[in-house]
Point group: C2
Chain length 413, copies 2
């Protein structure tokens, strides 16, 4: 492992199952797989909720994803901390009965099966509401619980293709471009977290549960800003101008000796500072080719050449430091190795070092909101498949050791 | 305007200021500008909160952004519905006094000034807490309220450069790639909404307010999945393989007669269906070049040529329909015009037609969570600068017409 002093000097995060947060006492049953559902449930767990993750006896499929730490997929570790893991076979009658009893215990159920699956499993919302009228069911799906595409299968890449964002991201060659960060799944998870919290607040005031329908595709579309409405209103289409800002110049990724920097000196104030304090060329501020935003956009090729002539003489770090001093937004275009060692991120616990429940070393990503009054909790390391089955069945459903052993022998757990 | 029947047949959404949602009665003071803060406050408004947007007398800078509808920026319309708009000059003593009184009224303040600005304005959290111990202050900033980069300026593009995501998105040429959807700002807004709701829930139970610190950079980093931890653990680096999936094949953007489709037939089940039901080539299922995921990844170039030979003979719509029938994830790579007319999105109100407060036609983007018990509200069209100044100062602060006229004459409003 190649980690610098920023990383090495930070303390390891230890798991404290007694830590309390905003959602302490809230009970979440997580029936979901992959990213959108598990991350939503993990967020609720980070906020303090008691989250029970239910998997089939072999564990969810994503546990086989690479890369892995001693056979344990990093992928599932990323989305399943602060949960207790239970296995049960929901195709067996005994498994279904256990599931119904856990649903009766829960305040919130998070699921991302294909629409209609909960009904087929005998725990559709109408059934659950009779058991527990205060229950909040959070259903996350590709296209949503309604509409003509309801029954289609969606992956993040498909949402990117359908939403128009691959077109928005296309470069001058017109080739559509996929983003490698699973934006639809992640936005879906974040929207689902927010919606669950709104429903919990509503329930706190009214006593009423409800069902929430979140589509991963919708969550991505809601994050695309003006692009789709601007097309409907003005027939506006994407600029396809690569890394260049659509409205201001200079604002682009510029080459430096050792890679690229992104700098945004496109506003009047930034441009003026750049010319005077960095280039020592006050004449450029009043040069009619560059003296206004429309002028700079009209002469952008010439302008960018002028900037490039300067950046090419510097390293990325030099440019970043010079721009920081002058107060113009800039960053090296960091490769993931550099980003993973960024001192700002480490100082805010956005990356942290810890261990899993076997004691294996692990790096995880922090929660992006910092609360003064109800801090984020780190209570349970990402669990092994079924790590807490006995504990949960005893504590929550009141089963004894003999009953659990029998269920295990008959393949229900 | 070029809109098809899907769009034309949908009813216009009308604004109903009496609609009630999960957050009805919650009072939000929105001091923010651009995207991250305004969208957070708009989300709270969509959920039913009473949101007062405060701007300087000329309106926030983003109101000058293009494109515009009769001089009104679409950009600010996207992020400011369900708010009442008030102007006040926070540099004047009278303006500051009005601001302090509005802060006393609020349950939640959303701001995205540079760190330390609220203190300079005389409404830092310590001061506000004395006026109102139940207050929740949501501070959104580029790098956060702490850490070595606290005082730097951040734009979305800079967050993309620093987080490593431009490297993750780089294609085979290694050139870093900017995403044109402002992912950091939008994720920051969504995280801030969620955090505000968690704090409201905590307050409902404990009576205590608090301050929340959200960095736009952190919000993007939290959405990057395994990339940064995998680098720290395994020195893993991005594949730089264009639109190709990193783990499964075939999963890529493939050319069709009229553009591209994205299809993901990379799992064992999808691959088998693709060979048997679409290509009519059952032999390929057992062909040792393609019979397992590692085999398909090793022979991906050959595999993709085989898929391309088939896709090139079809239109995008044909491929999408064939794959839908067979149950394999697929979508045309939609340009924004096609995406903006997608029937699934329209059926779920993710795009809707309405009018602004002048009666000008407008298209907006819907809220991605659908609540059965506490529906999203559409109460106020995106407001003109200061549209509700008189109403708010009378209703909330009890000022009379003469006092308001005097404040206006002296340039405070």
């Amino acid at each position: 492992m190649n980690i610098d002093s920023t990383v090495a000097l930070r303390p390891h995060v230890t798991w404290d199952r007694d830590a309390r947060g905003a959602l302490s006492g809230v009970r979440v049953l997580d029936l979901s797989r992959f990213i959108a559902g598990p991350l939503c449930a993990q967020n609720l767990g980070d906020l303090g909720a008691d989250v029970i993750k239910v998997e089939s006896p072999g564990g969810e499929d994503a546990r086989a994803n690479s890369p892995a730490i001693n056979g344990k997929a990093l992928y599932t570790m990323m989305y399943n901390r602060n949960k207790r893991a239970v296995t049960l076979n929901s195709r067996s009658p005994e498994g279904r009965e256990l599931l119904r009893r856990l649903a009766g215990w829960a305040d919130v159920i998070v699921e991302n099966f294909r629409p209609g699956t909960l009904d087929k499993m005998g725990i559709g919302y109408e059934t659950l509401r009779e058991i527990n009228p205060r229950l909040i069911v959070v259903s996350i799906s590709g296209y949503g619980q309604g509409g003509p595409y309801r029954d289609r299968v969606l992956f993040d890449c498909i949402a990117q293709a359908m939403s128009g964002v691959m077109d928005m991201n296309a470069g001058p060659d017109g080739m559509p471009r996929l983003m490698k960060m699973f934006p639809a799944d992640t936005l879906g998870a974040t929207q689902a977290t927010s919606a669950t919290l709104a429903a919990l607040f509503h329930r706190e005031r009214t006593g009423e549960g409800q069902v929430i329908d979140i589509a991963v595709l919708d969550s991505l579309v809601a994050a695309l800003g003006t692009a789709l409405p601007a097309n409907l209103l003005f027939d506006a289409t994407p600029e396809h101008n690569g890394n260049r800002d659509d409205f201001n110049a200079p604002a682009n990724a510029f080459p430096v000796r050792d890679g690229f920097v992104y700098l945004h000196a496109g506003t009047a104030a930034f441009w003026s500072r750049f010319c005077i304090e960095i280039l020592d060329r006050p004449d450029l501020v009043t040069d009619e080719r560059f003296s206004s935003t429309p002028a700079r956009m009209s002469n952008v090729t010439e302008l960018e050449k002028l900037v490039t002539d300067w950046t090419m003489d510097h390293t990325g770090l030099e440019v970043e430091q010079i721009f920081e001093r002058v107060g113009i937004p800039c960053s090296r275009v960091a490769d993931v190795a550099t980003a993973a060692r960024n001192e700002q991120l480490w100082s805010r616990d956005m990356l942290f070092r810890t261990h899993d429940s076997d004691g294996d070393e692990l790096f995880l990503v922090g929660y992006p909101a910092k609360f003064s009054g109800s801090p984020i909790t780190m209570r349970f390391a990402p669990p092994r498949v079924g790590e807490h089955t006995e504990e949960v069945l005893e504590e929550i459903l009141g089963l004894d050791g003999a009953e659990i052993a029998q269920l295990r022998d008959s393949g229900v757990l």
